[in-house]
């Protein structure tokens, strides 16, 4: 009993020490991010817009791996602080964008429906084929990506998921030469 209480006290101390705000990217990566970035305006005016460092979140619609280049088409979702930090489905079609990442990503992280957040530079649009339909998507060239393996569910649904307890697998990857 004493051992358990001691372990508990140690854990609480460790938790306090390790306290974080739930943010997923290192502060260095976040330097220079445009905090007032207007996604809908950018979608409409990517042609003339200057390249900016942005943070965006969304739901994976499709991904393509070609060598070391990974293209992820994402349906944009607002990033919220609660009930759980990250992109939250607001049941609206906010528009899509595409992420281009140079590097390797686990197949499970790229599953359709997974939540994703990206920090990177905006670029002019490119034509990408989604479900046999070619469309032009505004591009974010990723410096870092964070994945929540939710498979279509919201982040807040975890870990008390359906008929049991399921921890939500997450992953952060950063490009070697951003």
């Amino acid at each position: 009993m004493r051992i358990i209480v001691s372990l508990l006290v140690i854990s609480l101390s460790m938790a306090s020490a390790c306290a974080s705000t739930g943010k997923v990217f290192p502060s260095k990566v976040m330097e220079g991010v445009d905090r007032n970035f207007d996604f809908s305006r950018w979608r409409m005016m990517t042609d003339g817009a200057e390249s900016k460092k942005v943070q965006l979140g969304g739901r994976i619609v499709q991904s393509q791996v070609s060598g070391d280049t990974i293209t992820i088409v994402v349906g944009q979702l607002p990033i919220v602080d609660y009930p759980a930090y990250g992109p939250k489905d607001n049941r609206k079609n906010n528009g899509d964008f595409a992420i281009i990442y140079q590097g390797q990503i686990e197949k499970s992280d790229l599953q359709r429906g997974n939540r994703v957040m990206v920090v990177g530079m905006t670029h002019p649009p490119k034509v990408i084929t989604v479900d046999d339909f070619s469309r032009s998507f505004p591009i974010v060239e990723a410096q870092c990506l964070h994945f929540w393996n939710t498979q279509g569910r919201d982040i807040e649904d975890f870990p008390f998921y359906e008929a049991g307890y399921v921890t939500l697998r997450q992953e952060t990857v950063c490009a070697k030469n951003p």
Binding site: S20, E162, V166, L168
Partner: protein, 526 residues
């Protein structure tokens, strides 16, 4: 005269044609300009792309009054103008076009009507969903001697569970129900009485397994105070108890959820025999759940401590709950090292009853459980996972097996029934390790190993249950937590050292003293 009529007709047609041409040309001009603009700079502007995409469905609607040629005059107008078709043919073509346009408009209206009806369906708005939690077909073989008419081998449907859930609003983020269709039989309770009383009679069906409501009272308090959950569900006691049957790594339940019985020795005065449910998988409860500092998850709640079947003995109108009143509080604190590895500390405190109960092996009196569990899933070796639990706790005196009459804590079975065993401290632990191959010839194979011990009475020697489980799983489809189709093979090396001093054990008939193997197919899709 005829010539005059013809001239008038021709003039009318020419006038109509000219007007049509002018109108079409006027309306076509900006479209042509846009198309030209797009074609000079293909796919350069998402604005134009969006317009093009959005205009797609409109093209399926009513067509223009004629197929416009490059000059802005419809084809039939041009043909009429050149005298290739007669006016009758021109009129017929126009009539057909108008009919087609009306027909398409009608179809579109019907589709719109259906769309407006279907898009409010609860199943399309996340209000109501359903899925197959697990469907398991099991072949089992146990080496224990069995009575005449029974077999060591069996085919069975281990689980046939459908799950229903939904989100009604941000404040009611989850409702949930789970039905277990393979076990619709009736269950005894433990009646009040002594050893001379008749045994319990069937009182409730076990068809209904889970139902809970989540409430998130203040959005901005989440995830620190995430949800208040009330109902019946898997209890937050360690790892196995809270893991859905469709996501478990071994076929048998661990000894901490249930050991003994099944044709083995019955309850005894040492408290070492009969079925013992050290931790119930489900119960009726209200609790608060949240996460602090993004690392420390907690659960604090109160429960009946009477198992999942106990709903049947509550009188909803009189308010008499019998043994079903809330009797225990529980807490769990789970510290995360990363997103999937953690260590947890669990505690249950309260009382237990041995009459009107649905839990085996509990006596009447003070009740407690303390547990530590951990899970380690390294990022550098994602296929590997190890986890384990250690639990110990007291049961009250005069423990019973469900269905056996019991009436209090005294140890005189002629007066109080039950087992006559004093209160005992029990202890159990296990460790499990597995590795999932994600590439190569063994891709989707997962070897599993588990070792566990259960000591039903820590004051006595020679009563230990031990088990090694060696298993191999093959995943046909492995996208947990939503989908998992697999075949599992487990071989269990079981040992039961005895029932404590003074009580002999016939190991030949004790299924927990004999090896066993199982083969199970499972489907899960939601």
């Amino acid at each position: 005269m005829r010539g005059l009529y013809r001239a008038t007709d021709t003039a009318r047609v020419m006038l109509v044609t000219a007007l049509t041409a002018a109108t079409v040309a006027l309306f076509q001009q900006p479209i042509s300009a846009q198309e030209l603009s797009t074609s000079t700079k293909p796919l350069s502007s998402p604005v134009r792309m969006a317009q093009q995409v959005e205009s797609g469905p409109e093209k399926q609607g009513a067509p223009p009054t004629g197929q416009a040629t490059q000059g802005g005059i419809s084809l039939e107008d041009l043909l009429l103008q050149k005298g290739t078709i007669t006016k009758d043919e021109w009129l017929r073509t126009r009539a057909e076009q108008e009919y087609r346009a009306i027909d398409q408009t009608r179809r579109l209206e019907t589709l719109e009507d259906w769309k407006s009806k279907t898009e409010v369906l609860p199943i399309l708005r996340d209000k109501i969903n359903f899925g197959l939690n697990s469907l398991q077909f099991l072949y089992g073989h146990v080496n224990a001697n069995v009575p005449e008419g029974r077999s060591q081998d069996s085919f069975s449907v281990r689980r046939a569970e459908l799950v229903f859930w939904g989100k009604l609003s941000d404040y009611l983020p989850r409702w949930h129900m789970l039905m277990e269709f393979q076990s619709t039989g009736l269950i005894n309770n433990t009646p009040t009485g002594n050893s001379g009383s008749s045994s319990g009679t069937p009182s409730v069906a076990s068809f209904f397994r889970e139902a809970y409501i989540d409430v998130r009272p203040v959005q901005s308090w989440a995830p620190n105070l995430n949800i208040i959950r009330m109902g019946i569900f898997r209890m937050p006691f360690g790892i196995f108890t809270e893991t859905s049957g469709g996501l478990r790594d071994i076929i048998s339940s661990p000894y901490l959820n249930g050991v003994g019985g099944g044709g083995g020795p019955g309850q005894n005065r040492n408290g070492t025999g009969g079925t013992i449910e050290f931790l119930q998988e489900r119960d009726y409860f209200v609790d608060v759940r949240g996460k602090l500092f993004n690392r420390l998850e907690y659960v604090v709640g109160i429960m009946n401590n009477n198992n999942f079947a106990a709903n049947g003995i509550v009188s909803n109108t009189s308010g008499i709950g019998g043994a079903n009143q809330p009797k225990a509080v529980y807490t769990r604190i789970r510290l995360f090292g990363d997103d999937v590895s953690f260590i947890s500390f669990n505690m249950i405190q309260g009382t237990s009853n041995n009459a009107g109960t649905f839990i085996n092996g509990r006596g009447k009196g003070h009740f407690d459980r303390y547990g530590v569990d951990f899970r380690y899933n390294p990022k550098f070796l994602p296929g590997f996972m190890a986890y384990g639990e250690y639990w110990q706790g007291h049961d009250g005196s005069n423990a019973t097996t469900v269905g056996t009459p019991a009436n209090g804590a005294c140890l005189d079975t002629a007066v109080c029934g039950g087992s006559g065993a004093p209160g005992v401290q029990r202890r159990t632990w296990y460790v499990l390790a597995k590795y999932l191959f994600t590439e190569g010839p063994l891709e989707n194979f997962e070897p599993v190993y588990m070792y566990e011990e259960f000591d039903p009475n820590t004051r006595l020697s020679n009563d230990l249950y031990t088990r090694h489980i060696v298993g191999l799983t093959y995943y046909f489809e492995n996208f947990p937590p939503k989908m998992q189709s697999k075949i599992q093979f487990n071989y269990e090396f079981r040992h039961h050292s005895g029932l404590g001093p003074g009580i002999p054990l016939n190991a030949a008939t004790d299924p927990f003293a004999q090896n066993a193997f199982f083969l199970q197919w499972q489907l899960r899709y939601m």
